[in-house]
Symmetry: C2
Subunit: 438 residues, 2 copies
């Protein structure tokens, strides 16, 4: 929570300002390397809102700051969010100015949600949007999240795996994400394991011996070609003993990945090891994945780490949580370059007969727009209305909705998104009326 | 934790590989917009290592994966780190290839630390390094962290405040960082508060009334000049009633910040409101801060958010945790572009007579180098040796050590760092010997 949320909340309490407010979460402008974004994080936002409580230790700390008076500190002891929330389903593609979440409730309560709702929704939407590009670039090949180590602290590592899975990743190396969200886990072996042995050959054999089932070997510690020959020798030995194959894949993590993947594929195929798959990793992002696919590199799995978990080319979205209405009156700030559309809003997406999305229209919440309304109610009187979709359901929804976008949006080019997002006349009229009043 | 840490650990257990290993944490290459980095996160790394435990729930989950056998799962029940750790003091500037942390212990245990130690050390060093540039740019003006909302999830928001404070920030808006680390808190008011009132004038008066002590008003919601006149009128009214000043500062968050700050300063000074300070925010980073300072903008406090908490121009460091020695033998990978210096190492920093740092030399841990050794022992047999420095002590150490860097490193220019980092002959000789052996 940011300090000003609390100082403002105290003022609302003392001023008896308890009328309902509408806040919306939206992105002002897309990064130039994003033609669409993907909404994610709703489940964690709902968890947060439902469980928002101030512990006595926290209230004691706030009391020690000398900024808060007793009635407000008392209020915090039983503070709950009692309002409603409407939101886009997780996995829905969205564009600039479109609310992905709308909070309606007493202004004090809605204000207390600001920073954390932003913090959750921003991060997972950021990562899902990046991951969606990797999925488009990989064009059907498998993708695994390897990013925990350079994610921004623990929460980011654990939740990046969730956001990436929503956008179509197949698995993660982060164990906690598997435990918490049921995401399939995938792992290989590190250079340190190879280096800890006096020979690479012994390292390979030892790792295979200790693995339950077939596994992946890392071949670029010293000399990739020599390592691949070792893998083939081991597979041939096992075959001659009638043992099942134990090498599922090899991983190459450095150097010219396309050339080495081709070399590996050629050597494996020539040695009747067609079953051994090729995993590539090492600083990959959607552009290098696209390049490897275009070059026809024979790759089965891409491991993506830092670029995914930090959304490295665009590590933040211009996302805001803004007051749109208070006490039944629309509100709008006019700050240069940061003006917002007032009023409680809904987004309608129109599809053509073939199921392709053709345009979005941002309307007032009580307008009857054409097409599919994208926001639906998830919380009423502070409690969730029903179960939220499962992660595999969200992943399927995301795949379907990203596929429904115009093909121009499936490319990795830079530039402004060409998707039409219209503002309804009613919203424009309201904005003019609000400006005239201030 | 990454899955491969556990599969490798199982292999080490089954192979009876319990000899001591040395792993080091270091950055391969600085981002082109960093002339130096700042080590941070040691306290959280030490906390993590001391408290590393596997809960029965976690072990049950691992068991369900079908990848681990009973002896290893049993081992995890009582797994502890029993080795030692040497580290650079938090707040120490460092350069490429220099270990900032060295872990010595049974290879299985040291392997279990990998991803989380990287995850902690990477993030806080990333943010402290970014914050140090903001501090240099602000040239004595105050800096406040406003970044929670766009930090990558909760942990990142809370710990970014800590890392920024280490590098010289004065305060944060993130309440939890104040509670957990004792960092001074600072907050203002949001546009939503102004908009929730039917007039800006009422909003100002209401916020002042409810604040304990003097506070900050936000003046750019509608028309900055008009808002500043309102602030002056309110101050004059209070003065005429003999009341103390209640406006400590104003905040401007949009538009041409330099021009508006000058306008505000001029209006306040002309109206005998010299005591009102000016806070600027809104997408600031070290370059815009430097620009505002160079333009002579009369600013007292900069609020820095997204650019700080995401280190937006360089959202990741090329940091790695690598095996350098096992069973008394140095280790090194030769992967293209990722070769490492083998052996347990120490960094010596040499200063000239005026106290300026002149060069670093990376030596073997048992070499007697010239100058100040930068790594010292913090953990022995898995327990901390003594108390770690307090946050204010770390901040003072950082200020002193950044000031001691050559003036060329105090600039924001892009390019390779000009600081000399030498590799000792003993390290080079060892690398050659290791290569010859593989």
């Amino acid at each position: 929570m940011d300090l000003y949320q609390l100082t403002m909340a105290q003022a609302y309490l003392e001023l008896d300002m308890h009328a309902p407010a509408v806040f919306e979460l939206f992105v002002r402008k897309l990064p130039k390397t994003r033609l669409f974004l993907v909404a994610a994080g709703l489940e964690q936002i709902v968890d947060f809102i439902e469980s928002l409580r101030f512990t006595s230790e926290e209230i004691e700390f706030l009391s020690s700051l000398g900024l808060f008076r007793t009635p407000f500190l008392r209020y915090l002891e039983s503070a709950r969010f009692t309002g409603s929330v409407h939101a886009m389903a997780e996995g829905t593609p969205f564009f600039a100015d479109e609310p992905i979440l709308r909070v309606t409730g007493p202004i004090l309560e809605a204000q207390l949600l600001e920073s954390r709702v932003l913090n959750i929704g921003h991060f997972q939407s950021l990562i899902a949007s990046k991951a969606a590009r990797c999925v488009l670039a990989a064009n059907g090949r498998q993708l695994v999240d390897f990013g925990l180590r350079r994610a921004h602290e623990a929460d980011a590592g654990v939740l990046a795996a969730r956001a990436a899975f929503i956008a179509g990743f197949d698995a993660t190396a982060t164990v906690e994400s598997g435990r918490r969200f049921g995401i399939p886990l995938s792992g290989t072996v590190a250079h340190s394991f190879i280096e800890a042995h006096d020979s690479e050959d012994t390292a390979f054999r030892n790792f295979l011996k200790s693995s339950c089932g077939a596994t992946t070997l890392l071949v670029d510690t010293y000399d990739t070609e020599r390592a691949i020959r070792r893998v083939i020798d081991i597979e041939h030995e096992l075959a001659s003993q009638g043992a099942p194959s134990s090498v599922r894949a090899i991983r190459i993590d450095s150097g010219d990945l396309a050339a080495q993947a081709r070399m590996a594929r050629g050597m494996f195929d020539a040695a009747r090891c067609e079953h051994i798959k090729i995993v590539l990793s090492g600083g990959l992002d959607e552009r290098s994945i696209e390049g490897l696919v275009a070059a026809g590199a024979p790759v089965d799995v891409f491991g993506v780490g830092t670029a995914l978990d930090t959304s490295s080319d665009a590590p933040a979205l211009d996302m805001a949580y803004k007051l749109q209405e208070y006490a039944g009156k629309p509100r709008r700030k006019k700050s240069v370059g940061k003006a917002t559309w007032p009023g409680a809003k809904q987004v309608f997406r129109q599809y053509d007969d073939s199921g392709k999305a053709v345009l979005d229209r941002i309307c007032l919440a009580d307008e009857h727009g054409e097409g599919q309304p994208l926001l639906s109610q998830v919380l009423r009187e502070g409690r969730r209305i029903g179960p939220l979709p499962s992660l595999p359901e969200i992943q399927r929804h995301c795949r379907r909705e990203v596929e429904a976008l115009p093909p121009a949006l499936h490319r990795l080019e830079e530039g402004a998104s060409t998707f039409s997002v219209l503002i309804s006349d009613a919203v424009r009229t309201l904005a003019t009326a609000v400006d005239a009043a201030n």
